[in-house]
Structures are given as structure tokens and as C-alpha cells.
């Protein structure tokens, strides 16, 4: 056993017992299937992005592997918010005391309606706004536009009393501009990055591999890109940051903390190794002890201090 260090962290009003949580859309819970670890150890749990209404999602194939990466074109399928509230939330709330709900929508109005509905629901610690799902070819991507971002965040902020996390897209000129727009809109926390637009072509069929033709790249391949964006945003915007992108072990997680992230989300790596988040929590604790720190807060942003 290793000595205890203080792993708890405050993202504004969102208090987490440790900085490690799953990334939206790469984590789900069912009554029957138990993961090979106790989900109570996680800093929080996050639902797949939910829309107001039921969504079918994209036709198969929805995923394909690239070199050290995963390309997905899910199209955010889902049963809609009412189903989430009735069926999924109870399972998530049983699994962890801190439940974050990820919401999506076409346009600010839909986001606001969702926020209003969820504001009435008990046991939601925060919302994460997926402004950046790059999978649906026709979807306008709010996260690429400063005005739309500010407007959407503002509308949600009016409607929802607890903290809101704004998830940023990497497919932009300058992510710090969008981050500032989110801050103007009233963002409490920023999370980045979502997937990078990507695709694969099957040289036998001579057609795109994915049913949706284009998708989003995640996994170890994108980690250096995500880290740079977290670094940039941490330098320019004074909001707590959740780092996301290719994090596959505690070393990766620590890089993001040193770059200025106060917490991290794990996506693709947890699809491959379901107990990776447990390993990351333990690895961070060990690192803090070895390096002689007594709390996680001490290392946040150290790389540019």
C-alpha cells in the first residue's frame, strides 16, 4: 500500500474525489454487466451524449481501427432524454455519487430545452455540452463558431443551476478563441478535446470504410494534439479544464495535469482496457508520493509555472 495523498479536486463548484472519469460515449452501465472494478472509485461517471428525442445514429460500420487510433462515426444514437432519466440515470447514480450528463442538440434552442428538463432532475452533478460531435456530416458544428458557442452556453446557463462543462472541438483554427467564447457565455468548466475529423478508405472496395463515410479520430494517436490544446487553453482562459484525448495510462494523465488540466477523461483506452481508470488513479497517487507531493492540486499546470 502507498501513503495517502489528497486526490480530491474542485472544478469550480464541481467537487471530485479524484480527477479521473470516463469520456462521454465510451462508457455505459447496465444492470447485468459488472465492470472488472468498482465504478465507485471513479471521480465521476458520464453518460453518452443524449439528445431530446430518440436518435437512430449512423449505419454500420460505425468504427474502424487506424494506427494507434480509433475512427468512429456513431452519429450519437440514443433513446432520448426521457428514457435517460427513467432508465439510465438510476443505474449511473447507483454506480457513482457524481453523475455528469452529456447533452447534445442541433442549435441553442434544443440545448436549452434539455437543460431545463434536466435541471428538474435530482442527482445530476453537472452537464457536459457536446458542442463538437463531428460525426454527422450535415450537422453544423457549434464548437467551430465563437458566436454560436457563446450563445448556446448562455442559454444553457440560464436554464441549469449546477455547473456546466463545455466540451471543445479540436477541428478549429484557434481553440483558445472558442474557449473564451464559452467563458463569455458562462461556462463553469471546459473539457477538451473531442475527436478529430478523420476517415479511412478500403482499397479493395475503393469506398470509405465507415457507413457515414467520415468520422472522428480518438486514441493514443491524438494525445500530443490534445495535450497542446489543453496547454494553450490553460494559458489563456482562467477556467478549470478537463483534459481528454488519448490518455491510456497514468503517465499520459500526469502530462495533462502538468499541462494545466485539473481532471481528465478516458475514452478509447477504457474500451480496450476496462480497468485502466483504476490503474490511472493508482498511478497518479504513486507519482505524487514518489515526487513528494501531498495533493493533486500541487502539480496542476506545473509545466508552465
Amino acid at each position: 500500500m502507498i501513503e495517502k495523498v489528497n486526490m480530491s479536486i474542485n472544478l469550480g463548484d464541481l467537487r471530485l474525489k479524484n480527477p479521473v472519469m470516463p469520456a462521454s460515449g465510451t462508457f455505459d452501465l447496465y444492470e447485468d454487466n459488472h465492470l472488472p472494478y468498482d465504478t465507485k472509485i471513479l471521480g465521476a461517471v458520464i453518460t453518452k451524449t443524449i439528445f431530446l428525442e430518440k436518435r437512430l445514429g449512423n449505419p454500420p460500420p460505425r468504427i474502424c481501427e487506424s494506427t494507434s487510433g480509433l475512427i468512429n462515426a456513431l452519429g450519437t444514437p440514443g433513446e432520448g432524454v426521457e428514457y435517460l432519466i427513467k432508465k439510465k440515470l438510476p443505474v449511473f447514480q447507483k454506480a457513482n455519487q457524481t453523475v455528469i450528463v452529456s447533452i447534445g442538440g442541433d442549435g441553442a434552442k434544443e440545448f436549452k430545452l434539455l437543460a431545463e428538463r434536466l435541471d428538474k432532475v435530482e442527482g445530476i452533478a453537472a452537464l457536459e455540452l457536446d458542442l463538437s460531435c463531428p460525426n454527422n456530416e450535415d450537422n453544423i458544428i457549434i464548437a467551430k463558431d465563437e458566436f454560436l458557442t457563446e450563445q448556446t452556453v448562455a442559454k444553457v446557463k440560464e436554464a441549469f443551476t449546477k455547473p456546466i462543462i463545455i466540451k471543445l472541438s479540436p477541428n478549429v483554427n484557434d481553440i483558445t478563441k472558442i474557449a473564451k467564447a464559452a467563458q463569455r457565455g458562462g461556462a463553469d468548466i471546459l473539457s477538451l478535446i473531442n475527436t478529430l475529423s478523420a476517415m479511412a478508405i478500403d482499397i479493395k472496395t475503393k469506398k470509405p470504410v465507415l457507413g457515414n463515410k467520415i468520422g472522428g479520430l480518438s486514441g493514443p494517436a491524438i494525445k500530443p494534439i490534445a495535450l497542446k490544446m489543453v496547454w494553450d487553453v490553460a494559458h489563456t482562459v482562467d477556467l478549470p479544464i478537463i483534459g481528454i484525448g488519448g490518455i491510456s495510462n497514468s503517465e499520459d494523465a500526469i502530462e495533462f495535469l502538468l499541462a494545466g488540466a485539473s481532471a481528465i477523461e478516458v475514452g478509447t483506452a477504457a474500451l480496450i482496457n476496462p480497468s485502466v481508470m483504476l490503474e490511472i488513479i493508482q498511478g497518479i497517487e504513486q507519482y505524487l508520493v514518489q515526487q513528494g507531493y501531498s495533493s493533486i492540486e500541487e502539480i496542476i499546470g506545473l509545466a508552465f509555472k
Binding site: T26, N33, H34, K48, L70, L74, P77, L271
Partner: protein, 262 residues
């Protein structure tokens, strides 16, 4: 579901590019049901990235071991093909819904093509154990691709075989043989894997003879545990005519033939 590091007992290349890999994993075996699968990784670096799904070809409860029957088709199976006795692999399993024999079942048929035979031997073994009669209908491009033929023959009441080149068996469609049998023999359940054509034939025979029929599907998988929603197949349109997708890893991989489109 367990996540374990398991030791390779042994591996043999049965015919070119086709391997039987025997693995010692008692926890997984204790819960394993034919039709279920494991997500396997034999690589510690990030290329390849994802685990690979493989169905139980044979389950040895007493030994606490199981066998996979797989074909070398790419990066992952290439690496797997170099596995030697006492090498380690990482496993998630058992995953998905396996087959369920009901009390009153007396006779079942298995219908497969090529590597689609992979889940069938496990089904045959467990049927045999429960005293259920098995009729086996196997097809392949050539005789040597009729994998596990001997093991199945040994346990099956009857075995029908066809090869495209007619090198063995009569040639023609295995489902025609099944149709023959059905005229005077009642099947309680039919299981198929490995061919869209077979699945559709069996579906139409089901209309006529009203047996239970199941198909075991494959789809590209990132997680195998219902987390990524990547492994979908299209559900047959219900009366409300609404499109619906099912998760092969979570709702399957064993599906009633008339509930899914392939």
C-alpha cells in the same frame, strides 16, 4: 465478465492460415456458454490498438481451458499466429449472450460455412452432454476448409457436407440437405453462422417448419462490452416500421434469425 491475463497452453496450425489456440483461463471458462466470445489482446504496444473478438470453439470445463479456432486475416491474427506455449494473452470474457437449450429440446441442427464453424463445435459438445441429438450441415470452398469435421462427425447423429468444388460431399447447398431432413425429422432448433445465404435459407425453412432458428453474427468491435455502440446490426423492421439497431456484442452475438437483417 472477467479481465484476466491467461497463459497459452498450445497452438497448432490445422491448415494453412487456420489455427487452434488453447488457453488456460478457469474463471472465464467457469461462466462460458457456447456462442459467447472473448476479446483478446496479444500485444502490449498500441499498434494494433483494439482487442480482437473470438468465439469459444471448444470449452473444457474440467481443465479450465478453452480453444479458439481462427483464421489469419490481418495484423492481430498475424501476431496471434506466433503465440507459443506459456506466452501470455489478455482476455475479456465471457461476453455476449450464448445459446440456451430448453428442457424439451431433443434434436438440433447446426449449419455453417467456412470459419463460421467456429462456434459450432462448442454447441455440439454441450448438446451432446445434455443428450440432445445434433445434425450437422457443413459447407466450405474446399475439403480442407471443412474445419473440425472429424470432431463434429464423432458427436453428431448425422453430418452432411458440401464443398464448392465438390471435392467432398455432393456439392450443392447444405440447406437443401437440411430441407430434406426436415421433411421427416423435427428439429427443435437450428443454429447457423458464417453465411448470409445460409441465414436466409434457414429463415424461409423456419416459416415452413416452425423450428427455433438462431444466427451467430460478427461485426467490428471496439469494446465487446456494450460501451462504444459500434458493433451494430439492423433489426428486422417491426410492425411500426421503425428502423432499429441492435448491438452484436450485447444483444447478441446469437440472434433469432428473423429478428436481424444481415
Amino acid at each position: 465478465m472477467y479481465q484476466v491475463d491467461a497463459k497459452v497452453i498450445n497452438q497448432t496450425e490445422v491448415i494453412e492460415n487456420h489455427f487452434i489456440l488453447k488457453i488456460f483461463a478457469p474463471e472465464i471458462v467457469k461462466k462460458a456458454i457456447p456462442g459467447q466470445f472473448v476479446m483478446l489482446s496479444a500485444w502490449s504496444q498500441r499498434d494494433p490498438l483494439l482487442r480482437r473478438p473470438f468465439t469459444f470453439n471448444r470449452i473444457f470445463c474440467k481443465e479450465g481451458s478453452f480453444e479458439l479456432l481462427y483464421k489469419k486475416v490481418g495484423k492481430g491474427t498475424e501476431i496471434m499466429s506466433n503465440l507459443k506455449t506459456s506466452d501470455q494473452v489478455s482476455l475479456l470474457g465471457p461476453l455476449g449472450n450464448g445459446i440456451k437449450f430448453t428442457q424439451n429440446m431433443k434434436r438440433i441442427a447446426i449449419v455453417s460455412r467456412g470459419i463460421g464453424v467456429a462456434p459450432m463445435l462448442a454447441i455440439v459438445d454441450s448438446a451432446k452432454e445434455k443428450g440432445i441429438e445434433v445434425y450437422a450441415y457443413l459447407s466450405a470452398a474446399t475439403e480442407n476448409l471443412l474445419l473440425r469435421k472429424e470432431e463434429i462427425k464423432e458427436k453428431a447423429k448425422l453430418i452432411y457436407i458440401t464443398t464448392d468444388d465438390a471435392s467432398l460431399g455432393a456439392g450443392g447447398k447444405v440447406t437443401d440437405f437440411l430441407a430434406q431432413t426436415l421433411i421427416d425429422t423435427k428439429m427443435d432448433a437450428v443454429y447457423t453462422c458464417g453465411s448470409k445465404r445460409l441465414k436466409n435459407h434457414i429463415e424461409s425453412l423456419k416459416e415452413t417448419y416452425g423450428f427455433k432458428a438462431w444466427v451467430i453474427l460478427e461485426e467490428h468491435m471496439a469494446c465487446g462490452i456494450g460501451a462504444c455502440k459500434g458493433c451494430i446490426c439492423r433489426a428486422k423492421k417491426a410492425n411500426n416500421h421503425q428502423d432499429r439497431y441492435l448491438l452484436v456484442c450485447k444483444d447478441g452475438p446469437v440472434f433469432p434469425v428473423d429478428e436481424v437483417e444481415v
